[in-house]
């Protein structure tokens, strides 16, 4: 069972470009080399849909033993790991703080390897938080599998479906669109989609509400479209 660490950093002023670059050149290769953490996604929150300015990162860990080891070696002010400490302290040139959540992949949710093998990619992503009737998370995730099939037929593919760890009322999913235009087109068509409306009715006893905000990947995100080369920075 893969475990995911989802971090949202609050950016200080115009520091997003600098922070994403510091991640790319510093923490991402260091975390992969020293801890075996695998970056699944990195990019910006799209401010027109959510809090701004923010960046988000999603890491994949093998299992709970791996997660516990990562926690044990996480930054604290008295951590005895000079390279990590130096990077962490320097990151506050760009960011003010963070909020994070631990996600447990649903048994049918694809891993990073599976996503890469099946060619899942895009620039534009939906991050959906589901407030579930307490105790019904497993049942809701089963139902979400059906929704993923419906959405895939409409150009929106699933990156992952998760239980939010140590809660009894929260699930999470990440979706990918090819680009912002197709993300908008999906939203435009949604109100008239009878199958989606039927699905929504089918989860009425499981789901209290959902909220989605959008993210835009950076060009060094593992799920960035192959062949879309650019030197542009996301600011």
């Amino acid at each position: 069972m893969a475990i995911y660490l989802h971090e949202i950093s609050a950016i200080d002023g115009g520091g997003k470009e600098g922070y994403l670059e510091a991640l790319r050149t510093g923490w991402v290769p260091y975390a992969e080399r020293t801890r075996g953490m695998r970056l699944v996604w990195v990019g910006s929150t799209i401010g027109s849909t959510a809090t701004w300015p923010e960046t988000m990162a999603l890491w994949e860990l093998r299992d709970w033993d791996h997660f516990a080891d990562v926690c044990d070696r996480m930054y604290t002010d008295h951590a005895d790991e000079p390279e990590m400490t130096a990077w962490w302290r320097a990151s506050f040139r760009f960011r003010k703080g963070a909020r994070s959540q631990v996600l447990v992949g649903a048994p049918w949710s694809p891993t990073l390897d599976a996503l890469l093998a099946s060619g899942v990619s895009g620039t534009s992503y939906g991050f959906t938080r589901y407030r579930v009737v307490p105790g019904k998370v497993d049942a809701f995730l089963d139902a979400l599998r059906v929704r993923a099939e419906l959405d895939a037929a409409r150009g929106r593919r699933l990156v992952g479906a998760y239980e939010v760890a140590f809660t009894n009322d929260a699930a999470y999913a990440i979706w990918v669109h090819d680009d912002l235009v197709t993300a908008g087109e999906y939203q435009r068509l949604l109100p008239g989609e009878a199958e989606i409306a039927a699905w929504q009715r089918s989860v009425r006893d499981l789901l209290e509400r959902s909220t989605e905000w959008w993210g835009f990947a950076t060009p060094h995100c593992p799920l960035w479209p192959k062949g879309y080369g650019t030197d542009a920075k996301i600011w």
Partner: protein, 233 residues
């Protein structure tokens, strides 16, 4: 039941330890002058950037009685009882924290106090801190059931109970803190909570608590000081 002051403190990035040491020194020094330092500090923790808001410090002080808790509040607010040393510390350390949110807690009968925790050898490298939300008025039933069934279930999978508390003034909140001696113990507990066999005691408890629990906010923490500090011998 014993009364505790629980604080979530928005520490300034990279200054969490400075803040925790600073408040620990101030608190312990003040209490030592009244011979009250022993058993007055349950824990000072730094939150990991894994769950919840970060950076964040968590303080848990054992005040024991409502009378002692009232005295602590008087030392800040009551014009004729203000403690000038507290004011000096408070104003001198604004560079270490930007704000916070505090709660007054009442212990459950089955939660050990500082002396009891120390005598029982409770402690660890990682701590799980949960604010548990119930329907209004259901907190007592949840805490009773946790004491009857939940504690044994979590301790059977590698956790140690630090304490389970009713949040005063909030009719829908409890706080539960668990300690894990090693990261491996935390991994064992987490795996059992999320993936253990359906018939295990922990899974049975997880299903049972859904009768009361309407949501949880979780923090993972490392102790800066737990049960004692250089200023709380």
């Amino acid at each position: 039941m014993a009364i505790y002051l629980h604080e979530l403190v928005n520490v300034v990035p990279t200054r969490a330890d400075d803040y925790l040491d600073g408040i620990g020194e101030h608190h312990g020094t003040q209490r030592q002058q009244r011979s009250e330092a022993a058993n007055s500090m349950l824990g000072l923790w730094t939150v990991l950037e894994a769950s919840g808001t970060w950076p964040l410090g968590v303080n848990l002080w054992q005040n024991g009685t409502w009378q002692r808790q009232a005295q602590a509040l008087q030392s800040q607010f009551e014009p004729r009882a203000q403690n000038p040393e507290l004011k000096k510390w408070w104003l001198a350390n604004l560079g270490l924290r930007s704000g916070g949110f505090d709660r007054i807690l009442e212990s459950t009968p089955y939660s050990l106090d500082v002396a009891g925790l120390r005598a029982s050898g409770v402690g660890g490298e990682l701590f799980l801190h949960q604010i548990v939300r119930t329907r209004a008025g259901d907190v007592g039933d949840f805490l009773d059931a946790f004491g009857a069934d939940g504690v044994a279930a979590v301790e059977g999978e590698g956790a140690q109970l630090v304490g389970a508390y009713r949040v005063c003034n909030h009719d829908h909140e409890a706080i539960v803190i668990l300690a894990f001696r090693t990261p491996r113990d935390f991994a064992r507990f987490s795996g059992a909570w999320h993936g253990g066999s359906a018939g295990s005691a922990l899974r049975r408890w997880r299903t049972r608590e859904d009768a009361w629990v309407r949501g949880k906010d979780t923090l993972l923490m490392k102790p800066r000081w737990f049960l004692s500090s250089p200023w709380h011998p």
